[in-house]
């Protein structure tokens, strides 16, 4: 039931916000904030009370089961159940959703003037969709949430986005985002259906249940094609480099809250999809795909970094850095050993935090300077009291400063990858250098250099300070004491390694380095 409430709370909160729009927008804001606080509290409660040494995938000790689950029949004729399940992996992502959701609401407190109630409804429904993706354990339900979260995001970009002068209209960005992700989603739907029918023809049971489908025996050719269907949807959403072109457009035109959710959560649904579906359902085929996927990962790391370097628009720049960071995730996922997978988890969390911080900073700069053009910035350090320090912090986090979360994530991914594919790891390391370059360039062009004026600009107010302070605190926590996170995600990641690693080309040195606490 608690899983269902994780979904219902934002849905109902969203309706309330919409309803309150006509009476008082202030209430709507507080309700939106309160709603996400409840989600965060629920997930923290689950974290503290649950035992996360289990996941559905069988582990060395026992046949697995979900830590929490909820299941009711929905369309019995087609074997569809509305079933949700939770393990350590989903818990961490739901908690991240709660946290970033609160901050997304808070950061648009003053940015959104028109129709704020409807705006918050879209934010909350989008977040409900994201939570649904993380919890669904029926492939039909998963697909449903996967697609449903797009509609509110479409509205967020199309209605409250920015039209950049000289650029494409925001509607263009919104539609591009929607078409890219939805049509790739349809391919995944076909793949899901194919998997379900294969399962039906071999076992005689028509079901979309994740647990049942895990056991589907697949011929290698069939598995390959079905897996490609899944991979396409996730690759577009992650995004993997040839499919990435929607991301910079969507980011540069989305409102701040939209960017925070997009970078912090929506991209992570794809990473989750790789971990939850591609590797467990098709371990053999995934191992065959690994060299290509890791190659694309490296390509993304380098390409994203180089493109970021060339941008003049702050949000586009950060968007390209996301592409680069997501490359590491792809690399880690297909390296497939526990070290790399734990790194992927850390990278998901850390990038969620750091990207959210950077996008919020971009939004605040834009509110104050009314431009995002780097050519019109420079020398801002002296004109603010505290904003540039936060800027420096998140930029350093993003470039992978040791002691902060991103460093840990990327380092573990590279270590894990080195064991599986040393060459790929070496190529990926180039990304670390490049990220230092674009990060420092971003810092230089905004905050240092010659100031166009010496007039002071309004500094962060208490609300903004609290938002950025929270993000910074979580980031430091991730970097310095990551154990609680690793403990929670260990069982699912170990199970994944067991399933995938025999296929992956893994030297036996694997047990020398462990992320064991």
């Amino acid at each position: 039931m608690i899983l269902l409430s994780l979904l219902l709370v934002p849905l109902i909160g969203g309706l309330l916000c919409w309803g309150l729009q006509r009476t008082d927008v202030g209430y709507a804001r507080h309700i939106a904030l309160g709603t996400m606080a409840v989600v965060l509290a629920l997930s923290v409660g689950l974290w503290l009370t649950g035992d996360y040494s289990q996941t559905l995938l069988p582990s060395a000790q026992a046949s697995g089961h979900w830590v929490q689950q909820f299941s009711v029949p929905w369309i019995p004729r087609l074997g569809i159940r509305f079933s949700l399940g939770l393990d350590g992996l989903s818990l961490l992502l739901v908690a991240l959703t709660g946290l970033l959701g609160m901050l997304a609401v808070a950061c648009s407190w003053r940015e959104i003037e028109s129709n704020a109630g409807f705006f918050y409804m879209n934010v909350l429904w989008n977040l409900a969709g994201v939570i649904g993706v993380f919890l669904a354990t029926d492939l039909f339900v998963f697909f449903l949430f996967w697609e449903v979260m797009l509609v509110p995001m479409f509205f967020l970009i199309a209605l409250w986005g920015h039209d950049i002068p000289g650029g494409r209209p925001r509607l263009y960005a919104a539609i591009k985002f929607f078409i890219f992700t939805q049509s790739a989603g349809l391919v995944m739907l076909v793949a899901i259906l194919a998997l379900v029918f294969v399962h039906y023809h071999t076992s005689g049971v028509l079901t979309f249940g994740y647990g049942e489908l895990l056991a589907t025996p697949l011929e290698s050719g069939t598995a390959w094609w079905i897996m490609l269907g899944f991979c396409l949807a996730f690759a577009v959403k992650l995004p993997v480099v040839p499919f990435h072109s929607w991301l910079p457009d969507a980011h540069s035109q989305a409102p701040t809250a939209g960017s925070v959710i997009l970078a912090g959560l929506l991209l992570k649904t794809a990473a989750y999809g790789f971990l939850r579906y591609v590797l467990p359902l098709f371990p053999v085929a995934a191992a065959q795909l690994a060299p290509i996927a890791m190659g694309l990962g490296v390509l993304g790391i380098v390409y994203g970094a180089i493109c970021a370097f060339g941008q003049n628009d702050t949000k586009r720049l950060v968007a390209y850095t996301s592409i680069s960071h997501m490359g590491f995730i792809l690399l880690g996922v297909f390296a497939g050993n526990e070290l790399a997978l734990q790194g992927v988890i850390m990278q998901i969390l850390a990038h969620g935090i750091s990207a959210a911080g950077l996008f919020i900073l971009c939004g605040e700069l834009q509110e104050r300077l009314e431009t995002r053009d780097l050519r019109k910035m420079g020398g801002l350090w002296g004109r603010f009291a505290t904003l540039p320090q936060f800027g420096l912090f998140f930029i350093l986090a993003s470039l992978g400063l040791p002691g902060l979360g991103n460093f840990l994530g990327e380092f573990l991914i590279l270590l894990g990858t080195f064991k599986a594919h040393p060459l790929m790891a070496m190529a990926g390391t180039v990304g670390l250098v490049l990220s230092a370059v674009y990060s420092l360039v971003l810092m230089q062009r905004t905050f240092y250099g010659k100031a166009s004026s010496t007039q002071a600009i309004a500094d962060l107010d208490r609300r903004e300070f609290a938002i950025l302070g929270t993000l910074a605190a979580v980031m430091i926590w991730l970097g310095l004491y990551p154990r609680p996170f690793f403990v929670v995600s260990r069982a699912p990641m170990q199970a994944l390694e067991r399933l995938y690693a025999p296929e992956a080309n893994r030297p036996e040195a694997s047990s020398t380095v462990r992320v064991d606490p």
């Binding site: 697609e147 449903v148 209605l159 078409i179 939805q182 739907l189 076909v190 029918f197």
Partner: protein, 494 residues
């Protein structure tokens, strides 16, 4: 034995009786409200009767050689009746302020409904053709109903000419098939033709002519040219009927014909239908991209949707009939809702709200209507949790099950293209209104009460149905599952 056929035929009989009563009532005294409520009562009664038929017909029941009343027929009759009911309610609101003769529209509507019901129950070329004509003839009058409007007349005339051509094709096709098979009963045609040795070019030609004629009615590409013009010109509630009930009847008949004659075994027919499906999906979606008129946009969207439905039909697996049933249901409800919104925003007095730009900012003035239209557009686009997704899901399921990868590819590409124009139209509802469109958003101050309730009530019912189909489709799926028709044993005469 005399009792049962009466029950089985009761939906048809009730509508026939209603036609006569409505006609007499008009002859005695013209009363808009009375005629509308009589028609509605008749339709509702017939709907109840179909429910009774559904529950009592455990097995299909053949009534003479012409008609067969089974669950398949009952399901599609109910669908046609629902469409007719919704159209009646919407027409009442639409015509309320119309100055000309208002009552005959309901009579025409009832006649067309009867025609459609005959079609979905026919198992014989004769009843097929009678139903077909009975469905078509009143539609000419309905499309041209606003006789003072140039565009409405044009729509009626266009529809007349093309329908007549389609009828000619169909009759000729029937003649050719009959010439070779020597029978007019669907169930026997398949068996007799199978007995013929080798490929018979005359039969293929006959089949092609039949498909062409039906293709006109279903506005499949390349026989779709009339569709946008008629959609644009005809009154909005009439288009709602034309787009749903009339096409449902034709498609259901096509399905029954294909299944009973086992035409899916004929590779030539399958190839032809596949071609039509792909062409329709591409033409419908691509041509819709350029539209700035909502009614024309929906016309092209309908072309594409019948392409998707053909994919289910072609797949012919165990899922096919069920998929078609679900798709026609979700499509009809959605389309009716979309035209319902157009009807309620429009009025025949001034211009109909047709341009997409007219709808700009509707959400901020009439959120209910705008939310309904949003849901309808998302549903047509096939976004999950809406009714339309269920249909698309079934089509893809049927396609995957029978490995029609080419057709599935067409569906996916078509859907991706389609998203663009649905979203573009949808977002208009949410932009801030311009002064010109602000007028539209206001409900006409006078005459709000009763007439708006008729149309509005229908729209709310459709909205609820649409939500139910999206969120809890299980009961509807079960209904569609019940419509399965196996190839009928040829001995099942009375």
């Amino acid at each position: 034995m005399t009792q049962l056929p009466l029950l089985a035929l009761s939906p048809l009989l009730i509508i026939s009786a209603t036609c006569i009563i409505v006609m007499l009532s008009i002859a005695i005294r013209r009363r808009h409200a009375r005629v509308a409520s009589l028609s509605m009562a008749g339709l509702a009664l017939a709907l109840l009767a179909t429910a009774a038929v559904w529950h009592t017909t455990a097995m299909s029941q053949t009534v003479s050689t012409l008609l067969i009343i089974d669950r398949f027929g009952a399901f599609y009759m109910a669908l046609i009746l629902i469409a007719a009911l919704a159209t009646t309610g919407l027409s009442y609101t639409y015509l309320h302020r119309y100055q000309g003769r208002r009552e005959e529209l309901y009579l025409l509507l009832l006649l067309a409904t009867l025609g459609g019901m005959v079609m979905v129950a026919s198992r014989h070329f004769a009843s097929f053709f009678v139903g077909f004509e009975l469905l078509s003839m009143p539609m000419y009058g309905m499309a041209a109903y606003l006789t003072k409007e140039h565009r409405s007349l044009e729509a009626g005339l266009k529809y007349l000419v093309l329908s007549a051509v389609a009828s000619a094709f169909i009759v000729f096709g029937m003649a050719l098939v009959y010439a070779q098979s020597g029978t007019l009963v669907f169930g026997e045609i398949g068996a007799r033709l199978a007995a013929l040795s080798g490929t018979d070019h005359i039969v293929i030609l006959g089949g092609a002519l039949l498909v062409t004629g039906l293709g006109f009615k279903l506005s499949l590409a390349p026989f779709h040219l009339w569709t946008p013009d008629v959609y644009q010109g005809a009154p909005a509630p009439v288009v709602a009927f034309l787009a749903t009930a009339s096409k449902v009847a034709v498609f259901a008949l096509l399905l029954r014909y294909v299944v009973e004659t086992q035409a899916t075994h004929s590779p030539a027919l399958i190839d032809a239908l596949s071609m039509l499906a792909i062409l329709s999906i591409i033409a419908g979606n691509v041509l819709a991209l350029q539209q700035s008129n909502l009614k024309r946009l929906l016309a092209y969207s309908a072309i594409a949707h019948f392409g998707y439905m053909l994919v289910a039909l072609i797949s012919a697996g165990p899922l096919a009939t069920e998929a078609v049933g679900v798709y026609l249901l979700t499509y009809s409800v959605t389309t009716l809702a979309a035209f319902g919104v157009i009807t309620l925003v429009s009025s025949p007095l001034d211009h109909e709200a047709q341009a997409i730009a007219d709808y700009r900012g509707l959400f901020w003035q009439r959120p209910g209507l705008a939310a309904t239209l949003t849901l309808a557009l998302l549903s047509l686009a096939g976004v999950p949790l809406t009714a339309g997704f269920l249909g698309k899901f079934y089509v893809l399921g049927a396609g995957v099950d029978s490995r029609q990868w080419l057709l599935i590819g067409a569906v996916i590409i078509g859907s991706a293209v389609g998203l663009y124009f649905y979203l573009r139209a949808m977002i208009q509802l949410y932009l801030s209104p311009t002064p010109a469109t602000a007028v539209l958003g206001q409900t006409p101050a006078a005459s709000v009460a009763v007439p708006a309730v008729a149309g509005g009530g229908m729209l709310i019912a459709l909205l609820l149905l649409m939500l139910a189909l999206g969120l809890y489709p299980s009961p509807f799926v079960r209904l569609a599952q019940g419509t399965a028709i196996g190839p009928q044993p040829t001995t099942a005469g009375p």
